[in-house]
Symmetry: C2
Subunit: 506 residues, 2 copies
């Protein structure tokens, strides 16, 4: 495994110019940021960037630049980049498109090596914009600058507390890196992820990719230890060969997902006019992803869930799964969803039936899915889970309703209060709830232990409501909780497909 990773690292490194790596380090881990086009007019991009960088808790130096101001929102401001006393690691530009070439020249003069060009009005608009885009790219190339954009929402680097993004979005630190050709889609991934506590490492809103391409970020994220999985939203790829080489190297090391729009004619046409990229035939992309081991997600929900799982659980060694369920109906729904997702569900062998017979009452269903017939005692539930995980004919488990029942408990406690007709006893309620949380934490910690011991992913499906956490941290590692049975089935199907790819390359 470590040898394999070593090789994979070498392969990625061979594809990345060391000078570029240094500049990408400055893009994502700058000690100082200049915002060219800073503003104190609420709602303007130059205002939002300052606001979000500070709001995100950036610890480094922030230099607003505005030719008409000495200070902005209480922060010392500079008339130009040249006026800044110290070094500038990264510059964010949010000025009119026509002013970008000059600003890029100022960056060259100031030896700023990493730039984010938020500004739109380039290739995506007209030929004049395209010409302007070629001009800024030339200036950057000749001046030793790596830049992301133009026409991007910005960059995020959660382990550097840096949200150099036009939207106020603050996910937890975590393993998922996001590369998005659409700013709003990338940000939405983070918003939904944040609501489900799916942690993010990096965000790259790549926009028009005038210079830095999706493949550059993919390679960089492939090398960074913070990144456990990479999720890409793509409307098109212009450097197909390079992209494939990079992808092949990165997928050898860590899971990579892509969502590609343009499945439909309308979507394809809209994509072409949006980011100005060649949309290309959807089927071609799909085949390409398969060839290089990229998991292909067909909608945003699948994208977010699979990326989170890929950063969290072991990769299953086959598509054979066992289901355990707290309710018969959900087990059936899950079995259907597994079938649709191409998973197989082996029959329970006699020895397993005999073992589970010792735990469950005589009327249990004796088949896969295993219906726990409402047996909720943690030790018994975990014993059955351990038996299923040890079963050699399956490589993953879907556990329905084993965790995530806090809202039931909450309602239950509230009912008791009404039955007793006493005023709310806040302390008692808190005690009951924390009892439940302790119980659930115990189960989750044991699930992580079983997962570690067997190397088989255990995807839990919450049957509660309201508690939307997807990733639970325990003393034994992280546990994944999916939102629905179809979500769980897609996760295992995608990860098993990734394992199959890895096997095929051995």
């Amino acid at each position: 495994m470590s040898y394999r990773n070593q090789t994979a690292d070498d392969a990625i490194k061979a594809l990345l110019d060391p000078a570029l790596v240094k500049r990408l380090d400055k893009l994502f881990f700058p000690k100082s940021i200049a915002v060219i086009g800073a503003s104190d007019i609420p709602g303007k991009w130059g205002f939002l960037l300052i606001s979000n960088i500070i709001g995100g808790g950036f610890k480094g130096q922030l230099y607003p630049i505005n030719p008409k101001k000495d200070s902005l929102m209480g922060i010392k401001s500079y008339k130009s980049l040249a006026d800044i006393p110290g070094e500038v690691d990264m510059a964010v530009m949010t000025i009119p498109a026509k002013a970008v070439p000059d600003a890029m020249r100022e960056c060259v003069a100031k030896r700023v090596e990493a730039v984010t060009v938020i500004t739109s009005g380039f290739r995506e608009v007209d030929e004049e914009g395209a010409e302007l885009e070629r001009e800024i790219t030339k200036i950057a190339n000749e001046g030793g600058i790596s830049f992301i954009g133009p026409n991007t929402m910005g960059v995020g680097s959660m382990y550097n507390d840096m949200v150099a993004i036009g939207s106020p979005v603050f996910p937890d630190k975590g393993g998922v890196a996001i590369i998005s050709q659409s700013g709003n889609v990338g940000i939405q991934f983070m918003m939904w992820g944040a609501a489900r506590n799916i942690g993010v490492s990096f965000f790259a809103g790549i926009g028009n990719e005038a210079q830095l391409k999706s493949s550059d970020f993919l390679a960089y994220f492939g090398m960074r230890d913070e990144v456990k999985s990479v999720a890409m939203y793509l409307e098109g790829i212009n450097n197909g060969r390079e992209f494939m080489d990079v992808a092949r190297a990165v997928t050898a090391k860590k899971p990579v997902l892509a969502m590609k729009t343009g499945r439909s004619a309308t979507g394809s046409a809209a994509a072409a006019s949006h980011s100005g990229s060649m949309a290309g035939a959807y089927a071609t992309y799909s085949a390409m992803f398969k060839q290089v081991g990229i998991m292909h997600a067909t909608n945003p929900s699948e994208m977010i869930s699979v990326a989170a799982a890929a950063a969290t659980v072991p990769i299953p060694k086959s598509n054979r799964t066992a289901i355990m369920t707290f309710g018969g109906g959900w087990g059936i729904i899950a079995a259907d969803e597994c079938d649709v997702a191409g998973l197989t569900m082996p029959k329970l062998p006699q020895y397993l039936i005999d073992e589970i017979d010792k735990i469950l009452p005589p009327f249990w269903n004796r088949s896969n899915p295993v219906d726990l017939v409402a047996e909720g005692e943690p030790d018994k539930v975990l014993k059955i889970m351990q038996l299923l995980a040890d079963w050699e004919e399956v490589d993953s488990i879907i556990a329905l309703g084993v965790v995530g029942r806090l809202s039931f408990i909450e309602n239950f406690v509230e009912c008791q209060r009404k039955v007793d007709n006493t005023p709310i006893n806040v302390e008692l309620k808190a005690e009951l709830m924390s009892d439940y949380v302790r119980r659930e934490n115990k189960i989750l910690t044991e699930i992580a232990a079983i997962q570690n011991k067997t190397g088989k992913p255990i995807i839990n499906v919450t049957l509660g409501s309201g508690d939307n956490k997807s990733i639970f941290e325990t003393a034994n590692g992280n546990v994944m909780v999916a939102a629905s049975p179809d979500d769980a089935a897609h996760i295992i199907s995608q990860l098993a497909g990734y394992h199959k790819y890895l096997q095929s390359t051995k």
Copy 2:
């Protein structure tokens, strides 16, 4: 329309025995409930039922029955049904299966006409259980009792504040009625619905359907004004002809959805062993649903969303839709999802382009999806929505990111606080947030007005996070907010299919 409804009402009435209607009234609107098998041992069914009936706020008389107790949880308790002084409209049984026949006889003696048999251990277990099931059905039939179950989670009647259910689940009052062959699935629908504020009118956990069948509840809900749409979870149907007659009559009046498990061989086998119903060929069911105008949902998320929308928005007169979006990427994703869901997206006619030209800056995309290029001013956004709704070539609108940005605003306000470096000004924050809520309410109210005026559904997709409300009440009526673009596309596709069915029956 009223004539049509009149006919539909007559058709439904013709299928329902008036005596049965009277008894179903007692099942869902009892003034008094006896719980046969009441217990004060926490966790027992007899405990949970008492707890949930009280917790749900039931206003009528509650009679716990337990031969060993004088009072239970502070409530006067009775040794037997016969001891109860007043009338009992409905009895809930949660006693061992073998005791059910005697309890049913006691109900006959006490002239209880509506009974819920929670108890399991009947047909779903073995032949002995099946014999017991036939016995209780015979007693009920001869004694003038209508009963639901056995092997059910119970019944809920939100407009009667009655949760005679084993789980503590308390959705808002609303338009969706649920019929579920699996108790846990039906309850999960309500839990997820509650988290998304999707209101429920009735819940019928039909269990083994020894006597009362899904079709009885479908007919009853078809006649009740509280019910705006019916969602059914089915593992199988044993009275196909009757079911179809009822369904045909009800769908003529209001939207009906079904989710049928057993798509896969494994799921089908599991269903057979779960509720003891004949699973039958999935394709046969699908064809049958189509024939009688039932919308067929393939997974739980679709089921919940479409049922909520069907209870909320007008039925679109075709599958032609217009998309308006706050972000280009999401527009493309939505266009793809519409295509997959079988919707068509006509091209914008010149007159519309000219009109929108007057509102949006020159660089807007001039096609469907209409990208609002971040124009957030409510009057302008609503003007464009009105133009699209008036456009004769479409019968529905998907609006992405027009509503649901509260979490963005929240983060924005929080950033400002950090920028100003002042302690949290709770009042100012509250003022900013309520400003935003007022703005959003204005937009939603206007959307409802446009929807009313044009009779075209406007499905909003929230691009926020955390705020999971699906149905917004406004002065002009309710507005539907879907969770994702694919959710919105499925909603319109299903409802347009329903309209097509209605047209075909004219």
